[in-house]
Amino acid sequence: MKSEVSALMDGELDEKTAAALLAQMKQEDELLASWNTFHAISDALHETYLHSPHFREKFRERLAKEPTILAPPPRRSPKPLTYLLSAAASIAAVAFVFWSVQFRDSGPTQLARQETVLKGAPQSVSVNDYLIAHQEFSPSTAMQGVAPYVRTVSLNGADPVR
């Protein structure tokens, strides 16, 4: 079960399995605790250098051997998760995966909860073009250089599921 949770985190489950697992997670606190744990670790880790290849796989293997929970339990009762999968390359549209976890520690390290779920059709390649045009005028681009353009290359309609 735990391995399925981490597989879900990495986007390795197909839609059916993922949906079933999510439904289960809404019911089983233990599963949700695993979810929180993995994200807590992942979040902490992303503050450090990730130079070694296959870091996530190696870490997951090591984590599987550790029975202790490394993160404190969530402060509030778990809320339902919202989940969308990216569409395949043959469809000229992209759906987004939004999910979030609430952590107990304060400070802006908590990952965002996306309250606004995609309504209507998913993104089209046209919006990607608008994003590029918009960033030409954003002060964020002035301060961060070309880095904000990563939003457009991480979002191309031709992206397969990751």
């Binding site: 985190m9 992303h46 995966v97 209507g120 994003l131 005028f137 301060m143 990563v150």
Partner: protein
């Protein structure tokens, strides 16, 4: 005695107010320094872009020389995609679909700089303060916090390298103190030697094999038929133009609103040539996207690094000024 206490309190109050103002100015200067560093420094590095629970790693190269400003962004996760910037031309390479998208702005100098007028406006809508020091990618950096004064904008945390001011970490935070998106360098070499071939794309674009998509932009300030009646406080129109976009029969009107730090763009196109489907709100990292139809003939897309309420208010108060007032 009372008078003395009063005077002392008043002096202390003025003193701390001045101190606060001084601190804010100091913090704002760091933002100017960051903008300058992004434009003038030679550097390369690897950064992670976190949004939701997704983490994308990219490499970036930047060179400033006599010919101008050059940069290259290489996506390291998933299919290889790259962006190459040379002054006001941006080329996006998508090898999966063998497409190069070229975006060029005419009639402007280099890419947007933070002008002093913008910087001072930031202080009106954000509480700006310097934090302590942090360490990112092996460099000491100065933390700068921007807390929004209302719910129409997101908060920011920046960490600027202590000598050059180059931003090594940028976080966008919502009102619940949650991180909408974060860009952090995990390794960077400031002042490194950048070869010109580091700025060349990895793909050889063979004409005939690759589709080259050009979008010519003609800027006509104040040249659109559109206006926004009630933008949220602080959001001023900073740009307005018509864009000729490949694949669209009529020009797309583009308006940009900004509070000095965040920007929101409005794109209005005739409905017949629109490729966007149903209206709605969606999100990508710190960017919220709102699409709606305007009357029967137009589609508006409003997007920017501001909360949903902001993009929706701008989108909902969009009016067609070119024709009669009764047209929504």
């Amino acid at each position: 005695m009372k008078a003395v206490i009063l005077v002392l309190t008043a002096t202390a109050a003025i003193g701390s107010a001045n101190l606060f103002a001084g601190q804010q100015e100091d913090a704002l200067e760091w933002l100017e320094k960051a903008a300058s560093a992004a434009r003038k420094l030679d550097y390369h590095g690897t950064f992670v872009y976190q949004h939701g629970s997704q983490v994308d790693t990219s490499r970036v190269f930047h060179l400033s020389d006599a010919a101008g400003d050059h940069a290259r962004l290489v996506a390291l996760d998933g299919p290889p995609r790259e962006i190459v910037r040379n002054n006001d031309e941006i080329r996006c390479y998508y090898p999966e679909t063998k497409t190069v998208k070229i975006e060029r702005r005419t009639g402007r100098a280099s890419f947007p700089a933070l002008v002093p007028e913008q910087i001072s406006r930031i202080g009106e809508y954000y509480r700006v303060k310097k934090g302590g020091m942090d360490r990112v990618a092996g460099y000491d950096c100065q933390l700068i916090f921007l807390k929004p004064k209302d719910s129409f904008r997101y908060g920011r945390v920046f960490c600027a390298e202590s000598k050059s001011g180059l931003l090594l970490k940028s976080k966008t935070i919502n009102d619940k103190d949650q991180v909408m998106e974060q860009i952090t360098f995990i390794e960077v070499h400031i002042g490194a030697d950048i070869d010109r071939d580091m700025l060349e794309p990895s793909f050889s674009v063979a004409p005939g094999e690759w589709k080259i998509d050009r979008s010519a932009v003609s800027e006509t300030v104040g040249g659109t038929e559109w206006g926004v009646q009630s933008p949220p406080p602080g959001f001023k129109k900073i740009q307005e133009m018509k864009r000729n976009v490949e694949g669209k029969t009529a020009p797309v009107s583009h308006l940009v609103f900004s509070d000095g730090l965040a920007a929101v763009s409005v794109f209005v196109e005739p409905l017949a040539s629109s490729t966007i489907a149903a209206p709605g709100v969606s999100q990508q990292g710190a960017i919220n996207i709102y699409t709606r139809s305007v009357g029967e003939d137009y589609r508006a897309t409003v997007l920017g690094e501001a909360p949903p309420v902001t993009v929706m208010q701008i989108g909902n108060s969009l009016t067609h000024t070119g024709k009669s007032a009764s047209r929504p």
